[in-house]
Amino acid sequence: MFTRFTVPARQVVLAATEAAGRLGAARVAPEHLLVALAEGGGDVGGRVLAAYGVTADGLCVAITDRTRRAGLTDDEVTALRSVGIDADEVFRRIEESFGAEALQPMVPSTKASRRFTPGAKKVLERSLREALALRHNYIGTEHILLGVLAEGSASDLLAAHGITYAGAQERVLDELRRAA
């Protein structure tokens, strides 16, 4: 499957496993692909993220915040509140009883051969479909970015910057026209 990946796209996949390690995640998830895309700023995917003001450091902070809340997104915390559950109060009590580390990732692994979550695999599969849809004969960082947005589990991190799938696709096409 990786044969059609461009060199920067392969680097993103590799850098995502490193980002997962730095963030103490046991497996490589879509958000780690995002961090890797933002780090590889020079390629199309990274340039589109930079145009929206997304930085790798900013993403890492947001991911750490999400981890502290047991992986719940802002929307999920709001939805819980609407059914009468104050998730922040739950997290506060967990920290009180078990310490702040209790909410940190369960398995801070240092293993080099980190596995991908089903979500991250779906992003990579989806990136192939994004490339096909745009009639591109390669899979580049821009297709991985669109794959992350299409898969959805990390799109809340981008929604905070006003990035939607349709908006990002437009910017990708702009970038490619400019580069051509």
């Binding site: 047991a70 992986g71 719940l72 929307d75 999920e76 915390v77 709001t78 939805a79 819980l80 509140r81 609407s82 059914v83 009468g84 559950i85 998730a87 739950v90 967990i94 078990f98 209790a102 369960m106 398995v107």
Partner: protein
């Protein structure tokens, strides 16, 4: 929480999107709390049998799910 706030909350919970998101979020929260509580119980010397009884599941189920962690 005042009345207006309470009404707004009740209204949004009637929305399927919000309600279903809340259910999905609860599942995540439950999984997280379960692994936290099981680890804590093990650290305090609870047997798998005792943990399973408290959770209302079989010993095999709780062991299979949490033993590797």
């Amino acid at each position: 929480m005042d009345d207006t706030n309470g009404l707004a909350t009740a209204a949004s919970a009637a929305d399927p999107g919000t309600g279903l998101t809340a259910v999905a979020a609860l599942r995540k929260l439950v999984e997280h709390l379960e692994s936290l509580q099981v680890r804590n119980a093990r650290a305090r010397g609870w047997s798998w049998q005792a943990i399973a009884e408290a959770l209302g599941v079989t010993r095999q189920a709780v062991h299979q799910k949490h033993a590797k962690r």
